[in-house]
Amino acid sequence: MTRAPLKAFWKSGELFVWLTASGVALSLLMIGALLGLIMVKGLGQFWPADILEIRLADGRTLIGQPINSETIPHSTSQAHPDGKRRTRFRVGNQDAFGYDFKWVDADAVVAQAKPFDLTVFNRREWGPLYGRVRALYREAAPVAEGPAAWPALLPLIEQANRLHERIHRIEHDEIGEINRRLESLRLQRQALRLDNRLTDDETTTDLGLQQTMAGLEEEYQRQAATLDSLRRQAGAYEVAVSLSTGQEVRLPLSKVITALRPNEMDWSLKTLTYLGNLWEFLSGEPREANTEGGIFPTIFGTVMMVLIMTVAVMPFGVMAALYLREYARQGPLVQLVRIAVNNLAGVPSIVFGVFGLGFFVYTVGGTVDALFFPEALPNPTYGTGGILWASLTLALLTVPVVIVATEEGLSSVPRDFREGSIALGATKLETIRHVVLPCALPGILTGLILAMARAAGEVAPLMLTGVVKLAPDLPVDGQFPFLHLDRKFMHLGFHIYDVGFQSPNVEAAKPMVYMTTLTLIAVVVLLNLVAVMIRNHLRKRYAASAV
């Protein structure tokens, strides 16, 4: 009697349903936990948290933002059965103190308060500075003092930022352009001398080039003079800040990005600041060895690289799959090729990196340089890592994925369609072009999605073939020929590694690591979503025959 229901329970498969469902639940839980952790750790850093002023038992004062707190290890005693607590504060002022973060034991705190006038300055160098605004100076002469200094400060900071922007534009665009033209003229002159002698014609050309160069030099001097005066203007104002130690420092406004008083900000203002910071992170350029500022160049580099890779891998993979599936005589040889292709997908990516370095960078790039850019040698143009070589290396890495998916897509096209087309007098090529490929397109795009997801997340091969810690220019800009495939680029995956492991200020970099990770995930998801949407659109159009 008791056995029968148990047996029925086994037979009903209920248990199996639970088992499979728990598999799904566990996977979802893990993904959710991963995303949750990254978001919690990353997104918090942009919030303008209140600044505390703490008086310690030893009489010292401390100003800073609490980061996290924990139980001091091995601190349990009879008086404190749960152990003592301590809190980590970001106290900033790294240039004055020599440290950025500080642990404070809970029982060392005598009093703490949130005075409204505590100010945090985000600086272009040395990270944040916490203190109180004392006075404002212009060329060492006081402009405003005491409470009047703060309202006077904010418009001046805005003005300083505008000046900074102008200086940056002149340095980067105008002087940069002069430098590029000078370099191109130098290379032209070099090219004239490649055969070690100058004909009369060439001498004339050379003289012309020389004159142009002289003109550019003058232009450069003019721009440099403008820069000098702008820099003096920007450095004119200084703010005097008293630190927690009572020490007073003079901070030139040209070094300040923002000054905030979080303690007197309300929620809406804080939210606005938060969104502004987030936008700055996504659209700005990195500062301070990548631990501050934005990550825009890395997002751009990642997307760009994936796109170039897609353009390279698609025709290549689809062609290969078409031959294997449609034209090659099916037999042991083709089967062997297929197995080899599948196994290629399992080769460690760093191996592809080494191959990319040896083949694309040195062999192909070196040959391109010798043939087309001999005047620049020994400086390499294409014979060094660059976004093109990195993309091609990743294309090699992902081509098996595309081949396999395309083959599956092709084999899922019913034979009826092919025969129907052939019987109408279409040739094999026409049949493939007009019937087979359109029907296989969703499958091909699935392969593309997988390839993109894999490529966007790869880091190892890129480190050998063109990724750098900090690229001065994007691979696309306003200068002819607009797309610069030879340029080195920044990549989100490498950025995570670089910020996390190569930065001098590990604590400050931590949230950046999480935020960069979150961005990488978002970029991959976004790229995939676009591809999935295209695929679903096509699938609807080429829905398989109903009967």
Partner: protein
Amino acid sequence: MPVNPASPYALKSVRDRWAPSPAGLPPKADEASQKAGPLPAGHQEVKIKIAGMHFHYGATQALFNINLAVPTNHVTAFIGPSGCGKSTLLRCLNRLNDLIEGTRVEGRVELDGMNLYDPQVDVTDLRKRVGMVFQKSNPFPKSIYDNVAYGPRMQGVRGTGVLDRLVEESLKGASLWEEVKDRLHHSATGLSGGQQQRLCIARALAVQPEVILMDEPCSALDPIATGRIEELIFSLKTRYTVVIVTHNMQQAARVSDRCGFFLMGELVEYGDTQTIFTNPRDKRTEDYITGRFG
């Protein structure tokens, strides 16, 4: 061959033989068929002549010494149990078996006196002359219009006017026009099974073939849809030569003029449908059509 310069088909690269004669009918098989050898009983013109034909799939032989003549503008049915080789023979008539690796043909298969397996034959050209409708309706996952226009487009017919007329005529020829004329640009996969099969017939007609091969065209259809297709087959024979493979003996009796009974790769008996069904010469044919065999 007369080409009406006013005909829309004459405008572009469609070859002469697709141009309809002024009467609107496809040109009758002419001198070529007269050279095709002895006429079968009833003095019909021969469209397809098969002589001493053997067919192999790799090591297995599927057809043994087939000899028959398919008359022009008649419906010829191939009947027999599954695996008897009737479909194989049908697929030899447009060389669709070429798609299968390792197939081999011996003997002669002639269309209007031309040996189909002559190495000089342009296979795609042959398939334009010999259209085919399959057992499972296989409209492409495109619109109804694009399905019908597929064949002509492959031949380089461009120009909306020409294509529009061709599509309309073909759909009318397959008696589907009235049902789909308002949704020509909807997906063909939304049609019912019977409509899909008629669409496939229309698609074959649009290439303006001389012969239409049908491989069990009604086996997946209900009796009403089957009835419509059978009517259609009956009307098609005024313009085309039809060869149909069927499992259904009543169907063969209803639609065909001549009938061949196949068994294990051999053509057991071939003759007028009436004769085969009322007075078969061979014992095996009689057993099969009376249902004693199977």
